[in-house]
Amino acid sequence: MSILQAIKNKVRSRSIHVSYVDVGSCNGCDIEVLACLAPRYDIEQYGIFVHNNPREADVLIVIGAYTHGWEEKLAPLWEKIPDPKAAIAIGNCPISGCCFDRRGSYVDPPVSKHIPIAAEVPGCPPRPTEILNAILSVRDLVFADWEVKRR
């Protein structure tokens, strides 16, 4: 691996811009992601910056069980994110549909059917510490040697 690649790996894992999208959740995971911003957990000290602009993001946090309103919107949103990119599913909803995946509901889980998911955090909702631990554990892996892998 070249030195340039090593520097790229290092920099990418220390500076992650996050965009989150709520595709039909109950808000529980939403506010737990928001709680990661709190001074208690302080997600920004790890170099993770949360803002909601897909065009600047590296990581897309997906929350919710994929309702029909997002059918024409989630995939274009995913394509707008520049490479290298990764999606993390937070909570039970994007993984399995949680309580909502029953006969008669309007959800279509899992989200991995629609966009590729790199990591999943189970829990309904997961604690902010679990979300942080998950993001911290994947940040060295998802973008490592991206140029090498692409070739």
Partner: protein, 361 residues
């Protein structure tokens, strides 16, 4: 009348200011907003449909997941409605514990709403202070119920677990600390001249317009309408409850009403802890057939459940009326119209504390 529209600006569904997907379409002339429309439909999960034909232990968790921010009140209203149907009496200790948990949940919801507003008007310091304060409330909630967001604390005939003796001490200490901090933050918000420039006189909702739009909750109480379902609740009657009202009708009043209600919640929790009766926390009781329409006061306003059950306690028909829909309508029909800039649109929208997950279910 012919209207000249310069630009039609859509905000959302993915927008830095909105935590949830909603689209606000603003017709603008220059910077001035002359009409607004809210487009929903990104979160419809059909919860009421999947609730049908299920017993309370499943519907209770679905009801909690109608809204993750105010999950306790959904739990409480559903369980109390089932108790009214079945004639189950709640032990007095359990009733007091319910009020404690409900008020803690209201506190975290109001703190989150005020955080969102401060974050939207870019006063990030105060926003982070409030979010840190919210973490302390969440700690208290977690200590009592075992979970941060979806507590699942109330069941027909009582509550899941009793409050431990050492937790009472911890809760009182953290309440003292939270109150001290909140006094500082409320005065920061109340006296900050920059905040006043962004908040006072912005997003006016007159009492007449508020009544026309059937606005509920803090949004109504900031427009001088003293309506609060907690007045009718038996446990709150025992504790002595009077709603908080302000008459300024603007963004500033809506946030200050929430600050005032935070102090009121702290008072109520203290009163509950002081007068906590001894005894059991679960009375037992089986759900029966019946039909009821029951309301409670969610952090965002009046929440109504219409439930019909069959003879074994399964929910046959259920309708949920959540508070946010009226507030959102009032927001786009009265509050946003005439806003001087697009920046005020997001601030006004957030000041009404819209909860899209509640609204669409």
């Amino acid at each position: 009348m012919k209207r000249t529209v310069d630009v039609n600006i859509p905000l959302g569904p993915v927008h830095p200011c909105f935590k949830e997907p909603a689209r606000v379409k603003c017709e603008t002339k220059g910077e001035r907003v002359i009409a607004a429309e809210v487009e929903l439909g990104y979160m419809k999960k059909g919860i009421e449909r999947i609730m049908k034909g299920r017993p309370w232990q499943e519907v209770m968790f679905l009801a909690e997941r109608v809204c993750g921010i105010c999950s306790v009140i959904h739990n409480m209203v559903f369980i109390e409605a089932m108790e009214q149907i079945s004639g189950i009496a709640v032990p007095p200790r359990a009733a007091y514990l319910r009020v404690i948990v409900n008020e803690l949940d209201r506190m975290q919801s109001h703190l989150l709403a005020n955080f969102s507003y401060c974050y939207t008007i870019e006063h990030e310091t105060l926003a982070m202070y409030l979010l840190d304060c919210r973490e302390q409330v969440m700690d208290a909630l977690e200590r009592l119920t075992g979970a941060r967001v979806t507590c699942a604390y109330m069941i027909p005939g009582g509550v899941r677990c009793d409050i431990h003796a050492e937790d009472q001490v911890v809760l009182r200490e953290s309440l003292d600390r939270i109150e001290k901090e909140l006094h500082r933050y409320a005065s920061m918000f109340g006296n900050g001249p920059m905040i006043a420039l962004r908040s006072r006189g912005v997003g006016i909702l007159t009492p007449v317009a508020a009544r026309e739009a059937h606005v509920v909750g803090p949004t109504a109480r900031a427009s001088g309408i003293a309506e609060d379902r907690r007045i009718q609740h038996p446990t709150y009657k025992q504790l002595g409850f009077t709603p908080v009202v302000r008459y300024d009708c603007d963004n500033y009043a809506r946030i200050m009403v929430r600050f005032d209600e935070l102090f009121q919640s702290i008072r109520l929790i203290r009163a509950c802890l002081d007068g906590l009766p001894k005894g059991i926390i679960r009375g037992g009781g089986i759900c029966k057939a019946g039909e009821i329409r029951y309301s409670g006061e969610a952090p965002r306003g009046e929440l109504t459940y219409s439930i019909k059950t069959d003879e074994v306690g399964r929910v046959v028909e259920i309708q949920i009326q959540t508070p946010s829909i009226m507030n959102i309508e009032a927001c786009c029909h009265s509050m946003i119209i005439g806003a001087d800039s697009i920046a005020d649109v997001t601030a006004t929208f957030v000041s009404a504390d819209p909860c899209i997950a509640c609204t669409e279910r």
